[in-house]
Symmetry: C2
Subunit: 336 residues, 2 copies
């Protein structure tokens, strides 16, 4: 291809993207699209591992994710945006890798262990869920991705992938598979509007990229601030105050923000003033995103077509990897 | 297609086929090829689940199996003879089904439990091996097989497959997948030449379909008989006597065999006489098989081409099933 490094990133199609996703990873994708070969995968197969009873949710959110990606300015001409199940080679690779990973090792994977506990699977753990780290190893290696942006909690998945890579290359005396590197997002996660924890659909403390002006206004006006900042004249805290955290993340007028913080800490600035500023800032950020979204919402077939073409592009790469893998194993029976 | 029932059968490419395979299943395949749509699968993906370190063994035995099949008279025009990994749709189906089966259920599968113990896997159990019953469910359902010939020890696999079928059809409110029925071989398994247990490569008590006249002669002459039949004039036992068991399985002259048995039981027939008769019978059985094998051994590319074309035929069927499965789950995003 070229000298650019290859990134694999993506999302499970189980919900719309919110400001937390933007700060945690989407912003970085928009930047990296010019610097890297970026594969952006809508991980429907992975989403099905714990949504097998509800594929409709997965289906519906594929278009939503496509709209989110395009509306934040990810360019399908320079990125490969695709649906995981459009690349059946990933399933074949998973099957080959599964023979190189023990059940005990999967059961020890810290990310999977935590998620099993969170989801209350225990006795009813679907086999597909236990093995999804191997499927992820297939995703990463299929595109020979060198960089994989992850949160702290996903680091064990990268370790698991690199174990598969080393085991494969060692077993088949090859150098077909490429180890990858975790890229940690420099910005922390965005706190929820309730100030209690990270933004999460299930906690109902999110602002979506697709929220209307009305919704954003309503959500910001009911946000938590400093609980001890009761009267306008009281000094207020800026750290841990969600409204200021959002301003820090999104306000481009750093000088004005610094001034606002100083005045708030001193006392004499009401929460309403700060919230109004946040609404202004978010409107400025969201307006072009909404406009692009509105355009694409008029032509969902075009969005799906972008995903389809992305799948075809992704397949060509994965097909080559599968070919290399079978050759390394010497099971390319028909030399094709 | 037609009104014929569909059978899925096959072998793991881990060794050449022997007389035990013939009596246990190959004979039946030769008969059924005229009565059913028969899919005969060389299960390389399954063989790799416990041979990941040695894919060369799997590779080498693919041609051997192909030669064995053709030499016993399985006709590639009326059967679909193919290599499992030529049908990548099987991997996709496996991935979908894995979400419908719990890890606990797989760990309870009696066949898998026994095999894990036999192979001494325990802590080092490859994930691919644990889940192979699900991959088998994919094989069976991909071709909508109604009949699956199995030995006693494989009955739990059929149960597991039918559980997947019911779970899938129930979850996605469909009737896409078809339950299958185990067909038990009417003839028991053939005892080994050592008289101790069933014929098995690892016990070195086999006569291969591809053995030469010399080899067959040598193996028969050193076969176990009735250990108490020491002198020619002693009465001998016919039951549990491997030489007579083989004669019962292969001698077409039932009257002559009945007579020989009576004389042996009475006393006055030496083991050498019985063994010579068995050599005669096996030569008659193996000669046409050897002749066909010799022909095909001259053109291994033709054999591989038969397997390749079989794979293409098999894929067409599996592709339709995968399409139906995705439609039932409503994840056929591109309506294709």
């Amino acid at each position: 291809m070229n000298d650019k490094k290859t990134i694999l990133t993506g999302d499970r199609p189980t919900g719309k993207l919110h400001l937390g996703h933007y700060i945690g990873s989407l912003e970085n994708r928009v930047k990296m699209q010019h610097e890297c070969n970026q594969f952006i995968m809508i991980a429907d197969m992975q989403a099905l591992t714990d949504n097998a009873e509800n594929p409709q949710k997965v289906r519906d959110n594929i278009l939503e994710l496509g709209l989110d990606y395009l509306s934040i300015g990810l360019d399908p001409k320079i990125n490969t945006i695709f649906i995981q199940s459009s690349v059946p080679e990933l399933s074949d690779l998973t099957m080959f890798y599964l023979n190189l990973v023990t059940v005990a090792r999967l059961q020890r994977n810290p990310t999977v262990k935590t998620e099993i506990a969170q989801k209350g699977f225990e006795k009813s753990l679907p086999a597909g869920f236990l093995i999804y780290p191997v499927s992820q190893a297939a995703d990463i290696t299929a595109f020979k991705a060198q960089l994989v942006p992850v949160g702290e909690d996903q680091l064990p998945m990268i370790e698991q992938t690199n174990e598969v890579v080393r085991r494969f290359n060692h077993t088949y005396n090859s150098n077909v598979l490429v180890e990858c590197e975790a890229v940690r997002s420099s910005v922390g996660r965005l706190i929820g509007t309730d100030g209690k924890s990270k933004m999460s659909k299930s906690l109902n403390n999110t602002i979506y990229l697709s929220d209307s002006s009305e919704e954003v206004k309503k959500k910001v006006m009911s946000m938590m601030t400093d609980p001890n900042h009761l009267r306008v004249e009281d000094p207020g805290k800026v750290e841990g105050n969600p409204v200021f955290e959002y301003l820090t993340a999104f306000d481009k007028d750093k000088e004005g923000l610094g001034d606002l913080k100083t005045r708030y800490q001193k006392g004499g600035v009401g929460d309403v003033e700060v919230k109004k500023r946040l609404i202004e800032v978010l409107e400025e950020f969201l307006t072009p995103i909404r406009e692009r979204r509105a355009e694409f919402e008029k032509k969902p077939e075009e969005v799906m077509n972008i995903l389809k073409e992305g799948g075809q592009k992704a397949r060509l790469v994965a097909q080559q990897t599968l070919k290399d893998v079978r050759k390394a194993m010497n099971i390319n029976y028909f030399n094709d």
